[in-house]
């Protein structure tokens, strides 16, 4: 029904662009010998070390339960590591003041595995939420939001509630919300689990375009078909890095 039309990627105006300019050396992610456990028993992640340079695009892969989501949660400051050091935006995450976290979150875009759309807000309002929280007036972002919705194939669904969307449409709305504020870091957890290959490839193109304009992109996925030969891959198995590109290896 509302599969993406063949419009090209929205113009720079409706696309992330500013991110590249102010994303300097701080905008990278670094793990040093990170260990994490939810409960006392098992370490979900152990001795994970890597460094994601500013403006890079990385795929995190691994079987179900390997710790992909856990790793992303550590990056987006949802939790603190049990041991080791994590640096995001150049700051040691264990040193970040609690009050500064909302500000840092506003510089990130996050797509969760179970797309968190707010039931009583329509698609447009859901997608515009980051801008609204940042204090912007609707008049200043209306066109941007509508342009982006068109690009992800939801142009005609802007004013319906999430419960009226199909699974794949919800996923695309969640992605649109994550990218609308042109974040410096974009984190996506299994963003193509509910869409067919065509749309999946289209969404990956969106991420690549964001990345080209300066955003550091991290995508967790089990859909290895989407990962091109030359892509950066961080493979997790049993909580440890089993494969990593040379450029991302960290010297400790």
């Amino acid at each position: 029904m509302h599969t993406p039309s063949s419009t090209s990627i929205p113009s720079a105006q409706t696309q992330p662009s500013a991110a590249g300019n102010n994303a300097n050396i701080r905008a990278n992610i670094r793990f040093e010998r990170v260990g994490f456990r939810y409960t006392r028993d098992v370490e979900i992640l152990s001795d994970v070390s890597f460094s994601l340079p500013r403006g890079s695009m990385t795929f995190v892969t691994g079987p179900s339960g390997a710790g992909k989501t856990t790793l992303l949660k550590l990056i987006y400051l949802h939790m603190q590591p049990s041991r080791g050091l994590i640096t995001v935006f150049g700051q040691d995450t264990s040193q970040i003041d609690r009050k500064a976290i909302p500000t840092l979150k506003r510089r990130m875009g996050i797509v969760l595995q179970d797309f968190d759309l707010v039931d009583h807000l329509n698609v447009f309002e859901n997608v515009a939420l980051p801008l609204r929280v940042a204090g912007r007036k609707q008049a200043t972002y209306r066109d941007d939001v509508l342009g982006l919705l068109k690009w992800v194939g939801l142009g005609a669904r802007a004013h319906v509630l999430p419960q009226m969307l199909s699974g794949g449409e919800k996923q695309r709305a969640a992605i649109a919300r994550a990218v609308i504020a042109k974040p410096e870091i974009l984190i996506a957890d299994e963003p193509t689990g509910n869409v067919d290959q065509d749309i999946a490839r289209r969404l990956i193109r969106l991420f690549k375009e964001m990345n080209r304009l300066g955003t550091t992109v991290v995508i967790a996925t089990h859909n290895t078909d989407l990962i091109s030969e030359d892509a950066n891959v961080l493979a997790l198995t049993n909580g440890q890095v089993s494969r990593i590109n040379t450029g991302m290896r960290v010297k400790v």
Partner: protein, 305 residues
């Protein structure tokens, strides 16, 4: 209205009329009960103050007749004159008037009818004692002084009455205060309950707001503003309803003639109008604080690290 506070609460929270309606009623009822309690205790306070000042200003002293009359130079009984002098020496007393014997006869009329009384009937003499404003007669001291002069007198300072009024007032105050404390507690707990329920129901909104970088105060303001608005409106309705009811009761009682306990308080005072404004505002503030604290606590415990 809500926009003033920096968050457009109505647009971000669901417009949940169905869920809010019973909450509105609960707050309206609490405001109604609170206003009624306050109006009643204000009325009670005014009534008892009226009575007590009436009682306090003038005191009647009865000087009892004696078998062997002790008469002054002009043939009038000298006991009352002596009593008058003794009383005038007390600091609280402003003036003492010896009332003419007709007044004493008037007292007996209900008992004896208007038949002419025999001249030698030993009537008591009444003294009207006026006090300085705000002063109280120490009736034990007065008793003692009169007894020392061998004068048998009854000081009717309405002590019994006064004690009963004080006691009634104290009991009414205790009950009003208990009721008020309970009503406030109920408002706070209702606000906390509603907030917790809203947190559970709107958990996803809260999570998403956190995710997109809204500080805790933003989220807290969203909820507490919306609840405070419900409280303000409901409080207004409840307070006005209480005022109407109390005015109605007042009218009913005053039109059907004097009614000792209820009437003096039931005329409306300016204070009552203040109450109708104050109750909803205070209710809204209580609700805002309770829900603000509840949500911030939950946010820091469960969502923000």
């Amino acid at each position: 209205m809500t926009e003033i506070l920096g968050v457009n609460a109505q647009a971000l929270l669901p417009d949940n009329k169905k869920t809010d309606r019973p909450l509105f009623m609960v707050f309206a009822i609490l405001a109604f009960l609170a206003t009624l309690t306050l109006l009643a205790s204000a009325a009670g306070y005014r009534a008892s103050a009226d009575w007590r000042s009436d009682l306090a200003e003038s005191i009647t002293v009865q000087v009892k007749p004696r078998a062997e009359l002790n008469r002054g130079p002009n043939g009038e009984p000298s006991d009352p004159a002596i009593a008058r002098n003794i009383l005038l020496q007390l600091s609280a007393v402003k003036s003492v008037t010896i009332l003419p014997p007709e007044r004493s006869q008037e007292l007996l009329e209900p008992w004896l009818g208007d038949t002419p009384l025999p001249d030698d009937l030993p009537l008591p003499t009444l003294l009207d004692v006026r006090l300085h404003a705000g002063q109280i007669l120490d009736s034990q001291q007065a008793d003692a002084a009169l007894l020392a002069a061998n004068i048998r007198a009854d000081i009717d300072d309405h002590r019994q009455w006064d004690r009963e009024i004080k006691r009634t007032t104290r009991a009414a105050q205790t009950i009003s205060l208990t009721a008020l404390v309970l009503i406030i507690t109920a408002s706070i707990t209702a606000a906390i309950f509603a907030t917790r329920a809203a947190i559970t129901g709107q958990r996803r909104l809260i999570d998403v707001l956190h995710q997109v970088g809204a500080p805790p105060s933003y989220t807290a303001r969203l909820f507490s503003t919306s609840f405070a608005m419900v409280g303000l409106k409901a409080g207004g309705v409840g307070a006005v309803a209480a005022l109407l009811l109390s005015t109605l009761i007042g009218l009913l009682f005053s039109s059907s003639g004097g009614f000792s306990y209820f009437q003096p308080g039931l005329h409306m005072a300016f204070f009552d109008l203040y109450l109708v404004v104050a109750v909803p505002v205070i209710l809204a503030i209580i609700i805002a604080i309770a829900s603000w604290r509840t949500i911030l606590k939950t946010l820091f415990e469960e969502i923000y690290p």
